[in-house]
């Protein structure tokens, strides 16, 4: 490897470039690094910690709901409100939104484009520390009073309740900035830092998904900032924009909130789809079916996501006309999503599929996203939603999309790129056992919630009628199976880190650029700028490396 760099270095530490990035620099230099790989890894540990924290709150919620008997209650109702709010706020703002773009995307996207770094490395560093600051503010809000509004902060409750609502919304405001910085960086990187020969339609589909995500991050997140600013003003000055007592309109808050938060749902799912678009062709060793259709469908989802937000508000007092328009537009989302699903399935057709852990998660994604996406269409129909709004049916639907699709895709990506990021292989058998447990646990937890919801169990309730007991208990047992799967996963992933580097450069026989460099990569990714001539996913012909010094 080292012999490929022949240029003499004037400044004395030329051999520095050949050190793998993990061993390049002290702890202090990691804290101030502008290397996209190190920032990706730091983001990864942060979001994994947040996933753990949010998961603990989820287990507490399920434990409390194990019994409808008040004498066996673990916590009082007020505490329960705070616990589910923290579960939602942590999982959404601190785990799912940054998980794939900021952790995996940061690591992989520049390499896939043949770049040495993202366009604005210092902004990338700023983004990480802004994220940490936001997380610390959120933790402060949790310990100083907590928040009991749900993650949606609806007015007028959020402007009247006690607790640290202002601080928590400020944390979301700060986290929004972190998300914007990532988005700006990715768009500029994709536009300007593609390697020679890397045309728009030679980019891996992961990059297209990240690009579509970044569009939403840049255009929607600022509105969240101003919404939360108005909410804080409302609490401190009593301006009355959202307060009917003063002539304001509480439904307007929902418009403002969902103008960001509905597109934000696609900030969550598009990166998941992007990962699946990488894992499936590689693990099937087959050319991607419908490359351009899939690329454009990512952008189409991003654009359509901005005109469907009213489907969260069918029962809010929004006008019937607006509801009907939003309901109609919502069905449009189904078209690009279905294009993707059909293309993934067709890509696998007659491929030589290997069922290793990343592929297991990708297949899980197809099933769970199918359920989550189709129930989304039920809920997008205004007449059905009036019945199902704010029931466990909605809870089950968005968990199938956020957890069953996005988080599962994140796990697919984590297992897929783990050898590249850390240079070690994890124990494959343990990974398969964990994957099966996660799949069983997830469905045991959330399938009963569809039944609960369709029978009228409202979401966010502290207690329930005795006839719901059985389904709630099945759901709680499912959460334990899920937790067991994650414990095993943590075990084999940490165990792999204690080993010496043993991962080959290309364990899955992929074709994109990140598989053509060493595992783990050197500090500057490439010894020389690669020149791309091959089509993406050209599994139909023998492999020709575009990176010099490939072995």
């Amino acid at each position: 490897m080292a012999d490929t760099v022949a240029t003499p270095k004037a400044h004395g530490h030329g051999e520095h470039h050949d050190v793998d990035y993990l061993h390049d620099g002290s702890l202090l230099s990691w804290m101030t690094t502008v290397d996209h790989k190190k920032l990706g890894v730091m983001y990864l540990w942060s979001v994994l910690f947040m996933f753990f924290l949010g998961g603990v709150f989820a287990l507490l919620i399920r434990m409390e709901l194990f019994s409808s008997d008040p004498s066996k209650a673990m916590m009082d109702a007020q505490t329960y409100n705070k616990v589910f709010t923290l579960h939602g706020a942590i999982m959404v703002f601190l785990f799912i939104i940054p998980s794939i773009p900021a952790a995996l995307g940061n690591f992989v996207l520049p390499i896939m484009l043949g770049a040495k770094d993202v366009a604005f490395p210092r902004l990338n560093l700023a983004s990480f520390w802004v994220y940490v600051t936001g997380a610390l503010i959120a933790v402060t809000a949790m310990v100083t009073g907590g928040v009991d509004t749900g993650w949606t902060f609806y007015t007028p409750y959020s402007t009247t309740t006690d607790g640290s609502v202002a601080l928590m919304t400020f944390a979301a405001f700060v986290l929004g900035f972190s998300s914007i910085l990532t988005g700006v960086n990715f768009i500029a990187t994709v536009h300007k830092l593609r390697a020679p020969g890397m045309g728009w339609f030679k980019m891996p589909l992961f990059v297209w998904g990240m690009y579509a995500t970044a569009i939403i991050q840049v255009l929607a997140t600022p509105v969240l900032a101003i919404t939360l600013l108005l909410l804080i003003m409302e609490r401190t000055f009593g301006v009355g924009v959202f307060d009917p007592k003063l002539g304001g309109d509480p439904v307007l808050f929902q418009h403002f909130f969902w103008f960001y938060s509905h597109p934000a749902v696609y900030i969550m799912i598009l990166p998941g789809m992007a990962i699946i678009s990488e894992v499936i062709p590689t693990m099937s060793q087959k050319t991607f079916f419908g490359y351009k259709a899939t690329a454009f469908s990512s952008v189409a989802i991003a654009i359509v996501s901005f005109v469907v937000w009213g489907h969260h508000m069918f029962t809010s007092g929004q006008s019937q006309l607006a509801g009907a328009i939003f309901s109609f537009l919502t069905f449009l989302v189904g078209i690009p999503s279905a294009i993707k699903v059909f293309n993934w399935i067709t890509t696998m057709y007659k491929g030589s599929i290997s069922l290793e852990a990343p592929m297991l998660y990708a297949l899980m994604f197809l099933i769970l996203f199918g359920i989550g996406g189709l129930t989304g269409l039920f809920l997008g129909a205004m007449s059905v939603d009036i019945h199902l709004h704010d029931t466990y049916f909605v809870v089950a639907h968005f968990h199938y999309v956020m957890m069953g699709s996005t988080a599962i895709a994140f796990l697919a990506g984590l297992h897929y790129w783990w050898p590249k990021m850390f240079g070690r292989m994890y124990n494959e058998s343990a990974a398969r056992i964990a994957a099966v447990l996660v799949f069983i646990g997830f469905n045991t937890t959330f399938l009963p919630q569809f039944l609960l919801g369709s029978r009228g169990m409202p979401r966010r309730y502290y207690n329930y009628l005795p006839e719901f007991t059985f389904l709630h208990q099945v759901s709680t047992v499912g959460s334990w199976i899920l937790a067991l799967g994650f414990i095993i996963m943590a075990g084999y992933l940490f165990a792999s880190l204690r080993k010496k580097f043993d991962a080959p450069a290309n364990p899955w026989h992929g074709r994109s650029l990140e598989w053509q460099i060493a595992s783990p990569p050197i500090t500057h990714n490439f010894h020389e700028v690669p020149v791309v001539t091959a089509e993406p996913y050209d599994y139909y012909r023998p492999f020709e490396p575009s990176v010099k010094g490939h072995h």
Binding site: H11, A119, T227, L229, F237, L246, F256, H524, E528
Partner: protein, 221 residues
């Protein structure tokens, strides 16, 4: 960090080029693209306030008319002229920097700062007048001259919009001071004046937002 010498074929590279760009032009274009993306976020953020303002105006048109009668059109117009002139001096500063004219760059930046300060002085007088009359947002509204109660909401928007804009003016002044100091040190030339250009873009956006704030707040009748 390492220097840029490991890219073949670029022996005498300028010191400002960062290692992950192939050449200075790519770096310049990328920086500008990034700045425009940032401006897009600013437009959407201010846009949220404009949307709220417009919607509430459609609900309470009388309160909006009554509220705007408390605003001084002449002061608003003078401030508009100040910001337009500051935009002009800013673009002249960018132009001078691109021609490597150090003295002119500094002079025009100083002019921009003077106009911006003038804007803030007038804003100060407007604000203190409102404070004095009790024309404050929301529950702090204590004006006794009568009129629709939703004027309190109008002034909520007035202070939110002009306050956020004023904050951007202050940030802009800090940025202009910073690039002025760098220009005095002779850091900019026709080969590299990206920071002047980017701060210029930001400053024009601040002007652009005021171009809409002025008629919507001061001239609606």
């Amino acid at each position: 960090m390492s220097s840029e010498s490991h890219v073949a074929g670029h022996g005498a590279e300028p010191s400002f080029r960062q290692h992950h760009f192939i050449n200075a032009e790519q770096q310049f274009d990328t920086s500008k693209l990034g700045m425009w993306l940032f401006l897009a976020t600013e437009i959407l953020m201010f846009g949220g306030l404009f949307v709220g303002y417009g919607l509430m105006q459609s609900v309470y048109p009388e309160a909006w008319v009554a509220g705007h009668h408390h605003l001084d059109r002449i002061m608003g117009a003078v401030n508009t002229v100040f910001l337009l002139c500051s935009s002009f001096t800013m673009v002249m500063a960018v132009h001078a920097a691109s021609q490597s004219e150090k003295a002119k760059t500094v002079r025009y930046l100083l002019g921009t700062l003077v106009f911006a300060a003038g804007f803030l002085v007038i804003k100060y007088f407007e604000y203190s007048h409102k404070f004095h009359d009790g024309l404050l947002p929301g529950t702090h509204f204590s004006y006794h001259g009568g009129g629709p109660p939703q004027q309190a909401m109008f002034f909520g928007f007035y202070f939110a919009m002009t306050g956020l804009h004023g904050f951007h003016v202050v940030v802009g002044m800090a940025l202009i001071t910073w690039i002025m100091l760098r220009a005095m040190r002779g850091e900019f030339s026709s080969a590299y004046y990206t920071p002047v250009d980017l701060v210029g873009l930001y400053w024009h956006l601040v002007d652009l937002i005021w171009i809409y704030l002025f008629p919507l707040l001061y001239l609606v009748s």
